[in-house]
Symmetry: C2
Subunit: 232 residues, 2 copies
């Protein structure tokens, strides 16, 4: 009998922000897949979930490189997918840990699509998206009444970004990093800058919060940064 592949959202800052279902799924796992980038020394998803991982589970750190090179990316996904298939064919319960929610900008989506196409049994357990965790902690409502909320990767094209900013009272910018100057300019033009908050390494020991983006120009920003902004 073939195993089951679980994509488990571990939320984004706190081991208590996993759901009961996520914790139970991790506790029953035979194999834990913890994704990490080449550069990172640790897997943040692993650190958050660590306390729930059973001793008997095999832990595998898989490298998902941070590159725009499609060929390298595809190779990494295939290689990681094949390693997972090996365990599924042995009937194992394989849990893939993923930061935030598995269906929002995750590495998991790539593996999910590959395995789904090959007919494997998959269960996805939702997680708290980073922007919900940040909004709750900082006391910032994300969207209300008849308003729009747009979730935008900072890697989107400038033209697209501009149009979306124009029509959304509320925005969440994810994956903010190197291009932050251009992003801030766009927020200035669209009228979102006054009520914008940037959170870098949310919830971790070295978290940084900037809530005065109108005057701030340079940040020590890494790829885990998020901006929540409002037009009014």
């Amino acid at each position: 009998m073939e195993g089951i592949f679980y994509g488990v959202g571990v939320g984004s800052e706190d081991s208590e922000l996993l759901t009961i279902k996520a914790v139970k799924t991790i506790q029953n796992a035979d194999v834990i897949i913890a994704p990490k980038t080449e550069k990172q020394k640790e897997s943040i998803a692993f650190s958050i979930a660590k306390q729930y991982i059973p001793k008997r589970a095999k832990i595998i750190f898989q490298i998902f490189p941070m590159t725009k090179n499609k060929k390298l990316l595809n190779e990494a996904w295939l290689c990681n997918k094949n390693e997972i298939v090996k365990y599924l064919k042995r009937g194992k319960k394989v849990v893939f840990l993923t930061l935030g929610d598995p269906m929002i900008f995750s590495t998991y989506i790539n593996i999910f699509v590959l395995l789904k196409d090959e007919g494997f049994h998959i269960k996805t357990i939702p997680g708290i998206p980073s922007f919900c965790a940040i909004a709750a902690r900082l006391g910032v409502p994300l969207v209300k009444e008849n308003e729009i909320l747009s979730i935008i990767p900072a890697t989107a094209e400038n033209n697209t970004l501009q149009k979306v900013l124009k029509n959304s009272e509320n925005i969440v910018l994810m994956k903010v990093s190197k291009n932050s100057d251009e992003i801030l300019n766009q927020l200035r033009r669209s009228g979102h800058i006054k009520n914008a908050i940037l959170v870098s390494r949310s919830g971790l020991n070295d978290e940084i919060i900037h809530d005065n983006l109108e005057t701030n120009k340079f940040f020590n920003i890494n790829y885990l940064s998020t901006i929540i902004a409002k037009k009014k």
Copy 2:
């Protein structure tokens, strides 16, 4: 000493989709506020959280009417807020249950803003948004790579809706109900209809899933319906 007001997201379909932190907060509550509309016979948020509520806790069902009459709404919010203040002044831990995530289109936001302005101590515990729960269960990635995800209330103005649909590959339409015909027309025009799924009363016993919105015209839709749609 004054009490603490907690806004707790209970997720949207399953008692196992509450976070560990949400469960602990409910278990420590002195007072549980369960919001309901006039028409509803039950509070769905209460049903989901019920098994975690301690016996000693006082349970209060507060009515939040479904009306566009601003005066009636404000009266209801003030009246409910005042009832909560009474318990906070007695030093109680008051937990306000809220479906999905507290900072996304919730009744909680109104009470949160009122209490915040009066200086009360508030903690918000995030929850799994309904669209994350649905996407995970149905195996539909919400947004990936450089794409945009827009969260839109079906009550938004047609003009706004049209512009947002134009610029978002991925959309979530919440609070879909009476105006569903107009919504479907818009999705047809924007090219989102082919990959659209409508879920009514998500996760409940009488859940309905429609994944052929191109031909379907009439639904038995209530206000808990959500549409997830993609352009490609």
